[in-house]
C-alpha cells in the first residue's frame, strides 16, 4: 500500500491496519502448504462473523518506537458530530457541515435515504453488520471533502463531487455561498484572480460536469475461457474528462467552465505557477498518478515502458500554459521528463541521492509539487523520491537534486521554510486510508521528513510525526499543511486525517517539536471509516481545516508556554490576498512593534537574553507604543539596538536571526 495516497477515498471502511502481520503470523505458525486457491475460497470465521471488525496492530519492528499512549488524544470518545475533543493551544471556532446537496439530507441513520444511498453505491448486502451511525457516514462519503484554496474573503473547498465556496469575511460566522456540482475526484482547487482550477482524475469525470458517469459494459455473452477481460464494449468515451478544469469565477455564485485541459493520466493534484517575469500567463503543473488512458480516447496517450516508448505518459509531469486574457486557449505546452538524466534515459531516478541504503522505487510520477517562485525553486514529492527543481523557466523545470529515504513509503507533499533553507516532505504511508498512528506504528513511518536545503542540495535532518497514539479505527498519517507566519520561527500547521491537526516547530531542523494540536475521537470505535482532516492551512489569522466527512473546521491559535499572544498577533499582521499553499509565497513582516514583541518573547523563551535585558526591552517597547512612537521613545529603542547585534555573535543561529531582526525594527519602527 505504498501509494494510495490521497486518495482517500476509499471511502468506506477502510481496513484497519496491519492486519497483515496477524495473517502472516498465522500462516507461519501453520506451515501446511495450502494451495493458493484455498486461501481465497473461504474467509476466516471471524471475518464471516463481521467483515468490518477491527484487528489488533502488528508489533513494532525491532529498534523502532511508536506513538504516545499517554497523550490526551489517545483515547477520545467516538462520534460524528459529538466526538470527544482534545486541544492544546488551539480553539475550535466553528464547524460548517457539508451542504445538503453533497449529502443525503438526513441526520438520522434510520432515514430511508441512508439505505437508498447505500443501495445506489451497490451496498445491498450486509449493511446490517455495520453500526447504524457508520452507515450514515459511509453513505455520505462518496462526497468526501478534499483540498482548500483562498482568495479575499472566499474559501474554496474541493469535494470529490464538486466544490463549495464559503464567505469567511467573519470566520466565526463563515457561511456557504455556492455549491458547485461537478464530480471527478479529487477536485483539488487553486485560484488566481478570476480563474479557478480543479484537478480531475477519476473515470466518471465528464466534460459537462454530469453526475451520471458512463454506462458499464455488460459481461460478454461468450468469451473465451480464461480470457482476462470478459467484458464487451469499448471504454473510450469522448465526453470523459480527466485533467484540469478552468472556471471563470467573476461571479462567485455562478462559476462558468471556460476550459477543460485533458491529460493522459488525469490530474491527481496540480500546482499554480506564477512567473514573476510574465504578466500575461500563468502555468499549471499537473501531477498525474493514475492509469494512462487509451489513445482511442485521447490521442497520443501511451503507458508504455520508457525503453519501448519514448512518448510514454509515464515519467513526466505536464505543464499547462494559461493565457490570462484568453483562458479558453489554455493547453499543455510541455511535458518535462524531470526524472530523466543527461544520457536521455527518462527513468534515471533510481540512481539518485539518498541518505539510506535502500534504493528508491520506480519514480514515474509526482504526487504533489510545491513551487517557491521567489527563489526559483520547486520541491516535488514524487512517489519514490523527494526532488528539487529549478523553475526559473516555468515551462521547463529542471531537476537539481533527488533524495530518498528507507523509512519512506510514498513521497506525498512538500513545503519550504520561509527562508528557503529547509524543506518538509511528508510520507503518506498507507495512503491516508489506514490507521498508521497506533502505539505499534513506527514514528519514522508515515511521518514528515525535514531536510536542509543548501546550495541546491537536500540533506536529511529529522523526522516528525504527530506524537499521540490514535485508535485502530482512525485513519492517520502525515498530510497537507502550511506555514504559520510567526516571525523568528518555522511553524507548520498540518492535517493528520483522524489524527487531527498538529502544529510543528521546525526552527531547529534536527529537533522538531509539537506546540499545538486539536483532535477528535474516531467516527466509530469498531470500524475504520474514512474521515479526518485532509488539509489544515493558516490564512489571514485563522486555521481552516477540510474535514473529509464532517465539513469545514475553523480554528484560532491561543497562547501557551510554547506560543505567546504576541507571536500570534505578529502572525496576524501577515495578510494575503490569495493563498494556494502549493504556490508558496514569501512572507515579509512589517517593521512593527508587535513583531518586535514576538522576538522578545522568543529570546526570553530560549534564554538568549537574560531577564533584565528582556524587561528593559519590554519597557521601552511599551513606552513607544503608549506614546505612539514619540521622539524620546524612538530614541530609547534605537539605543537598545547595538547591544542586540552584539549578542547575536554569541547565540544559536535562530536566536542570532531574531536578535538582528529585532535590532532592525528598533532602529526604525513603523507605525
Amino acid at each position: 500500500m505504498n501509494r494510495v495516497h490521497e486518495i482517500i477515498f476509499r471511502l468506506l471502511l477502510v481496513s484497519l491496519a496491519l492486519s497483515s502481520c496477524l495473517a502472516a503470523t498465522t500462516l507461519a505458525q501453520t506451515p501446511s502448504p495450502s494451495p493458493s486457491q484455498d486461501a481465497t475460497k473461504a474467509p476466516d470465521k471471524q471475518e464471516q462473523a463481521n467483515p468490518f471488525a477491527l484487528e489488533p496492530a502488528a508489533p513494532l519492528p525491532p529498534g523502532m518506537t511508536g506513538s504516545d499512549t499517554s497523550d490526551p488524544r489517545a483515547k477520545l470518545t467516538p462520534g460524528i458530530y459529538d466526538a470527544g475533543e482534545a486541544a492544546m493551544g488551539i480553539k475550535h471556532v466553528l464547524l460548517v457541515k457539508k451542504p445538503d446537496a453533497f449529502q443525503l439530507g438526513a441526520d438520522n441513520p434510520d432515514d430511508p435515504k441512508v439505505q437508498k444511498m447505500l443501495g445506489q453505491m451497490g451496498a445491498g448486502g450486509e449493511t446490517s453488520k455495520m453500526p447504524k451511525p457508520v452507515q450514515l457516514v459511509i453513505a455520505q462519503l462518496s462526497f468526501a471533502n478534499s483540498d482548500l484554496a483562498f482568495q479575499g474573503n472566499h474559501l474554496f473547498q474541493g469535494n470529490f463531487y464538486g466544490l463549495n465556496i464559503f464567505d469567511i469575511s467573519n470566520p466565526a460566522k463563515a457561511s456557504l455561498l455556492t455549491t458547485m456540482i461537478c464530480p471527478g475526484g479529487q477536485n483539488d482547487v487553486s485560484v488566481y484572480k478570476n480563474l479557478l482550477f480543479m484537478s480531475v482524475e477519476m473515470a466518471n469525470g465528464r466534460l459537462d460536469c454530469g453526475t451520471q458517469g458512463f454506462p458499464p459494459a455488460p459481461p460478454h455473452p461468450s468469451p473465451a475461457a480464461g480470457q482476462s477481460n470478459p467484458f464487451s464494449a469499448p471504454p473510450a468515451q469522448k465526453d470523459r474528462f480527466r485533467g484540469v478544469r478552468i472556471f471563470d469565477i467573476s461571479d462567485i455564485k455562478n462559476p462558468v467552465q471556460v476550459a477543460a485541459v485533458q491529460s493522459c493520466r488525469g490530474s491527481h493534484t496540480h500546482t499554480l505557477v506564477v512567473d514573476p517575469n510574465d504578466k500575461n500567463n500563468v502555468y499549471i503543473y499537473i501531477s498525474g498518478t493514475s492509469f494512462v488512458r487509451q489513445s482511442e480516447e485521447l490521442a497520443g496517450c501511451s503507458g508504455g515502458k520508457p525503453d519501448k516508448d519514448p512518448n510514454t505518459a509515464l515519467f513526466r509531469i505536464d505543464v499547462i500554459k494559461v493565457p490570462l486574457a484568453r483562458p479558453q486557449d489554455s493547453q499543455i505546452v510541455s511535458s518535462p521528463r524531470i526524472f530523466g538524466d543527461e544520457s536521455g534515459a527518462m527513468n534515471a531516478l533510481h540512481s539518485g541521492g539518498t541518505h539510506g541504503k535502500e534504493k528508491p522505487s520506480d519514480t514515474d510520477q509526482c504526487h504533489d509539487i510545491t513551487v517557491y517562485s521567489s527563489i526559483g525553486l520547486a520541491a516535488g514529492a514524487c512517489s519514490g523520491n523527494g526532488i528539487l527543481l529549478d523553475i526559473k523557466d516555468p515551462a521547463h523545470p529542471k531537476r537539481l537534486d533527488a533524495v530518498n529515504d528507507p523509512n519512506y513509503a510514498y513521497w506525498h507533499s512538500a513545503s519550504f521554510s520561509n527562508d528557503g533553507k529547509k524543506v518538509v516532505f511528508t510520507d503518506e504511508w498507507g495512503g491516508g486510508l489506514g490507521a498508521r498512528c497506533r502505539p505499534n506504528d513506527p514514528n519514522k513511518w508515515g511521518a514528515d521528513a525535514i531536510f536542509h536545503l543548501h546550495d541546491n542540495k537536500l540533506s536529511f535532518a529529522s523526522y516528525y510525526k504527530m506524537p499521540a497514539a490514535q485508535g485502530d479505527s482512525e485513519n492517520c498519517v502525515a498530510h497537507n499543511g502550511s506555514l504559520i507566519p510567526v516571525p523568528g520561527r518555522d511553524l507548520e500547521v498540518q492535517a493528520w486525517y483522524q489524527g487531527g491537526i498538529s502544529v510543528m516547530d521546525f526552527t531547529d531542523a534536527e529537533k522538531p517539536v509539537e506546540i499545538a494540536y486539536f483532535d477528535r475521537g474516531p467516527i466509530d470505535p469498531n470500524m475504520l471509516v474514512l474521515a479526518g482532516d485532509w488539509s489544515a492551512y493558516w490564512y489571514n489569522g485563522h486555521i481552516y481545516a477540510s474535514e473529509i466527512a464532517r465539513g469545514l473546521d475553523i480554528f484560532e491559535l491561543t497562547p501557551t508556554k510554547f506560543l505567546t499572544q504576541n507571536e500570534i498577533d505578529a502572525a496576524k499582521t501577515v495578510r494575503m490576498s490569495e493563498l494556494n499553499v502549493q504556490n508558496q509565497q514569501k512572507i515579509d513582516w512589517p517593521r512593527k512593534l508587535v513583531i518586535a514583541k514576538a522576538y522578545v518573547d522568543q529570546l526570553e523563551r530560549s534564554q538568549a537574553l537574560p531577564a533584565d535585558r528582556v524587561a528593559t526591552l519590554r519597557t521601552a517597547i511599551q513606552a513607544a507604543e503608549k506614546s505612539n512612537l514619540n521622539r524620546k521613545s524612538v530614541a530609547k529603542l534605537k539605543g537598545l539596538a547595538p547591544s542586540l547585534d552584539q549578542s547575536a555573535g554569541t547565540t544559536s543561529a535562530a536566536d542570532a536571526n531574531r536578535l538582528r531582526a529585532l535590532a532592525d525594527i528598533l532602529r526604525n519602527p513603523a507605525r
Binding site: 505504498n2 501509494r3 495516497h5 486518495i7 477515498f9 476509499r10 468506506l12 481496513s15 497483515s20 502481520c21 495473517a23 502472516a24 494451495p35 493458493s36 486457491q37 486461501a39 474467509p43 484487528e55 451542504p99 445538503d100 446537496a101 443525503l104 447505500l118 451497490g122 451496498a123 453488520k129 462526497f143 464567505d167 457561511s175 455556492t178 455549491t179 456540482i181 475526484g185 477519476m202 460536469c209 453526475t211 451520471q212 458517469g213 454506462p215 458499464p216 459494459a217 455473452p221 468469451p223 480464461g226 467484458f231 464494449a233 469499448p234 471504454p235 455562478n254 462558468v256 467552465q257 498518478t289 493514475s290 492509469f291 479558453q328 522505487s361 520506480d362 512517489s383 510514498y410 489506514g434
Partner: protein, 226 residues
C-alpha cells in the same frame, strides 16, 4: 407642507429600500446557490436547493476485479509466509514483511468492499462467464490462475528451496506475480464503465503504484545478489 411631505415620503422610500436590501442580503446569505456548470463554453445551470447527490451505476467488472485480486493477493501472502523458515536474508525479510502487511491489508479492504455491496468475496463459478474455474481446471488439469500467479509447480519449487536459491526464486516469482497485478488493473480500466467507484478507483491506483515500486526494489535486489 409639500416639502415636508415630500421629505417624509423620500424618507419612507429610503427606509423601505434599505430594509429591502437588507432582506436580500440576509436571504442571500441564508440560501446558498446550487449550480452545475456545463461543458466549456456552455452556461452554468442553477439547480433547486433541494438537489441531492447521485452516483454513477455500479459495474460488474469492478466486482469481478475485486474477487480476482483477492485470490491474487492471497498467493503473495502465502509466499511471504515462507520467508522466515526459508532464508536468513535480512533485506528479503524486511521486504517480505512489508509485502505481507500491505497485501493482507488490501485483502481485508477488498473483502469489505465486496461485502458492503452484497457481493461474494470469491467468484461464483457458474455465474461467471469466461471465468469458469471448475470446468477449466477439469479440462486442462491445471488450477485457474490470475495473471502473474505462480503455478503449483513454481510454488512447490519455492517451498523446496532454501537460502540463496529461495531468495532468487522468491524475487523472480514475486516480480512475475506483481506484474500480473498491473495487467489486471490495466484490464479493468480497459473496460467500459469500470472504475467509477471512487473507493475502487483509488484502491486500484494504489495497487498499481505500490506494486510498481516493489517490482523496482526487487529488481534492484536481484541485481545486487545475482
Amino acid at each position: 407642507m409639500r416639502t415636508i411631505m415630500r421629505a417624509s415620503r423620500n424618507g419612507l422610500f429610503s427606509a423601505a429600500s434599505v430594509a429591502f436590501l437588507l432582506f436580500i442580503s440576509v436571504s442571500a446569505q441564508q440560501t446558498p446557490v446550487v449550480v452545475q456548470p456545463g461543458a466549456p463554453g456552455q452556461p452554468t445551470r442553477t439547480l433547486p436547493s433541494s438537489t441531492r447527490a447521485t452516483l454513477p451505476p455500479a459495474s460488474p467488472a469492478d466486482v469481478q476485479f475485486m474477487q480476482h485480486m483477492i485470490m491474487h493477493h492471497a498467493q503473495a501472502v502465502e509466499m511471504t509466509a515462507l520467508i522466515d523458515s526459508h532464508t536468513a536474508n535480512k533485506e528479503l525479510r524486511t521486504l517480505g514483511a512489508r509485502i505481507s502487511r500491505s497485501q493482507s491489508d488490501e485483502i481485508k479492504f477488498m473483502k469489505r468492499w465486496l461485502t458492503t455491496r452484497g457481493e461474494p468475496v470469491a467468484p461464483e463459478m457458474a455465474d461467471m462467464p469466461g471465468m469458469d474455474m471448475a470446468s477449466h481446471q477439469m479440462k486442462s488439469g491445471h488450477e485457474m490462475l490470475m495473471p502473474g500467479m505462480l503455478t503449483a509447480k513454481q510454488m512447490e519449487a519455492l517451498r523446496n528451496a532454501k537460502g540463496e536459491e529461495f531468495d532468487h526464486l522468491f524475487l523472480t516469482g514475486m516480480i512475475q506475480h506483481h506484474n500480473g497485478a498491473l495487467i489486471m488493473v490495466k484490464d479493468l480500466f480497459d473496460t467500459a464503465g469500470a472504475g467509477q467507484d471512487a473507493e475502487l478507483f483509488n484502491f486500484t491506483t494504489d495497487v498499481d503504484t505500490g506494486q510498481r515500486a516493489e517490482i523496482k526494489i526487487m529488481q534492484t535486489m536481484l541485481g545486487e545478489k545475482p
